[in-house]
Symmetry: C2
Subunit: 414 residues, 2 copies
């Protein structure tokens, strides 16, 4: 208990002197504290959604041999300017996957299928529909030997050693297909950051317990597990603990030796008497970088370093956890994997309705829903319990955004 109101006021005064950063400054300082993780080699088929560690180059060119682009006949060099009807003796057939062992001599032709391997001496494919077959010969009007030769040359799409996928790209199914064609069996991807999380709050119980009056289920555990997974981290649930200084200290001391890449707590970062995360973190040897943002949510959010582990002390309410995760923690997880592109990505949206804010002293991030409407990016405030796909940035100083106004919007990753 407070011995007097003065104790509360003193606490408030201390917190008013907290290190308060703008969102941009916070993003910069977090970014400057990130060390990129090493790479690891995984089987191509396990590479889906992983982030490429270093540029991947082709081991097999595309196409891997001169290939026919049509079903037809492959013929050797002939005089295209001679308009007379020409005849070629059919000496073989080349379905896909097979080769013609011999060289193609003048006056001879092979039937060839799309994707078939053009034999030595073959320079021109005449599609079936442009010629005829008579008594073992292919007959074609000379003027039909147009410039199109219907042969895709070896390496014309991707040469041996060409870069196929750039470092920092999150591998999509089509990348895997491309890499597979190019003979790439395994890929170097960034290791996944380890991500430990703890929910603090004396009122919190895990879902397996029964609630007593005054208690709540801890909803941030599943939230953090889901969000960290979406950003590519390996989550580890470190449990739920009460607002108790010695338990918190114990937790930080244990976490310190774990060598985690990320440690995140929820709750206990406000100015209240039971907000003990900061003290325990500092006592365990943590270095505080900032304790507040000039933004809502973000009035109370701690960022610091605990022996090489990046620590985020997020507030308790789930909506604030989600927002701060998406704009601070998630982008840091991506950056640690060398992810390409800046997250959160900022775009402009056109307000679907007017927004008025009561206070305009700080930047406000409002859950939004961005949709495409006849060629324009239209944005509205998300309804209660509706899942947002963006945040609308309501700048400090502005209290009214009329319908149709262009506003800054942060897209949610994934």
């Amino acid at each position: 208990m407070f011995s007097s109101l003065n104790e509360y006021l003193t606490l408030s005064l201390i917190t008013n002197h907290r290190k308060m950063y703008t969102l941009q400054k916070a993003q910069q300082i977090i970014s400057s504290n990130i060390k990129r993780l090493p790479g690891e080699s995984v089987d191509l088929k396990d590479g889906l959604n992983r982030i490429v560690f270093s540029d991947i180059t082709a081991i097999v060119p595309q196409p891997p041999f001169d290939e026919s682009m049509r079903d037809g006949y492959v013929i050797p060099e002939s005089d295209e300017h001679d308009k007379a009807t020409k005849r070629f003796e059919i000496v073989g057939e080349i379905p896909a996957g097979k080769t013609y062992a011999d060289r193609l001599h003048p006056g001879t032709a092979c039937r060839i299928m799309t994707g078939g391997c053009v034999p030595r001496g073959g320079v021109h494919v005449v599609p079936f529909e442009k010629c005829a077959e008579q008594n073992g010969e292919m007959v074609v009007a000379g003027h039909l030997l147009e410039s199109a030769r219907y042969i895709r040359k070896k390496g014309s799409e991707i040469a041996l050693g060409d870069r196929v996928v750039q470092s920092g790209v999150a591998l999509q199914p089509m990348h895997l297909a491309l890499l597979s064609s190019c003979g790439v069996r395994s890929v170097d991807v960034s290791t996944r950051p380890s991500f430990g999380f703890l929910c603090t709050g004396s009122e919190l119980r895990s879902l397996s317990s029964e609630l007593e009056k005054g208690q709540k289920y801890s909803s941030n555990s599943v939230l953090l597990e889901g969000l960290s997974t979406s950003f590519g981290a390996c989550p580890e649930d470190l449990g739920v603990i009460e607002d108790n200084k010695s338990d918190l200290l114990d937790f930080f001391l244990k976490a310190k030796g774990r060598g985690l890449d990320f440690l995140v707590t929820t709750g206990g970062v406000g100015p209240g008497k039971y907000d003990l995360v900061r003290d325990a973190f500092v006592e365990a040897g943590g270095q505080v970088v900032f304790t507040a943002l000039d933004m809502r949510p973000g009035k109370s959010v701690l960022f610091g370093i605990l022996e090489g582990t990046l620590f985020f002390g997020l507030p308790g309410p789930s909506f604030a956890v989600q927002t701060l995760f998406n704009v601070l923690v998630g982008p840091a997880i991506l950056a640690m994997q060398g992810g390409k592109g800046r997250w959160p990505q900022k775009v402009k949206g056109c307000m679907q309705h007017q927004i008025t804010t009561k206070r305009s002293d700080v930047l406000r991030l409002k859950d939004g829903v961005l949709t495409s409407d006849r060629g324009s990016c239209s944005v509205r405030v998300a309804a209660r319990c509706e899942i947002s796909n963006c945040y609308i940035l309501l700048q400090s100083g502005e209290i009214c955004y009329p319908k149709g106004a262009l506003v800054d919007v942060y897209l949610l990753a994934g």
Copy 2:
């Protein structure tokens, strides 16, 4: 080999009589053949990205009790119109997670923390900053007892039995948090469709082999594995086989007894001599629904039913596999899980540059990149080897789309 060119021409004639559908008609007919899969119960934390089978309702209301919205003092009913200074004897403290056993009697107050449980008789929270504490009493100016009572009533956000998440929704981290708060431990989600795939082509080798001349690595295996996973199916790689009628027939006969939800092949659906998928499928008892689309890609694509299994015979080239998967197969996988919303989702995009097409006889789907540009949805054709995020629909009959034109765009799911 063809015994004569006539054989080839006969084949071509047959294929000209193929069942050709528009994309819209194809989507409708696939949709009408889909039976929704049953649900299964999974732990909440395993529910990420799964599709909800039936509406989920709250087991615990939100908030679960009358809770304080501020750090302050909770007091019983008092006369707000009396502007005189009031005093309340402080009889206890209620941190989050604890309760005050007694009823709050007139003239008494308890300290209470944000999220603390309002005791019986408590109707009003006075924030710390609006009052003072003197000699064991809370002192407040009567006029400060404003209308705001800083109490969130039990069930005011979500009442017991309220629907929290609707059937058909793919669960996101924030849904999990919401459900967790509402005491939901496990969720009924749609079972994942089983999805078998086979790549056909005598030129194809798996990545573990060495290539001989004329051969290629099968790139569609990883592509189909990745795409089907992204849409929520359980993929099973059924291998690579040659263009050989008896092997194909054998494959379909075996697949028939498996009770798969989806069966997909690539290659072997063109008009060529070695395109044997259709024949083998029919001989195995498959019913052909359509064999071509009035669209590029899609000139050759087979959809049919094999004893309750939906069968898609896709063409060989990876770009065509990806496109047809995204507009036909993927949406069917989602629909079988009861996924909400129509895929592919169609929006309008504004052309970043002029497109001219050579032929305009059919609808063309072109790989595109959709971005947001100062409030408008801007779209351009994807560069070679660039990963697209949409398809631009170039309508038949149109041959030129000028810069700035509004075009239809299919968004890629996931």
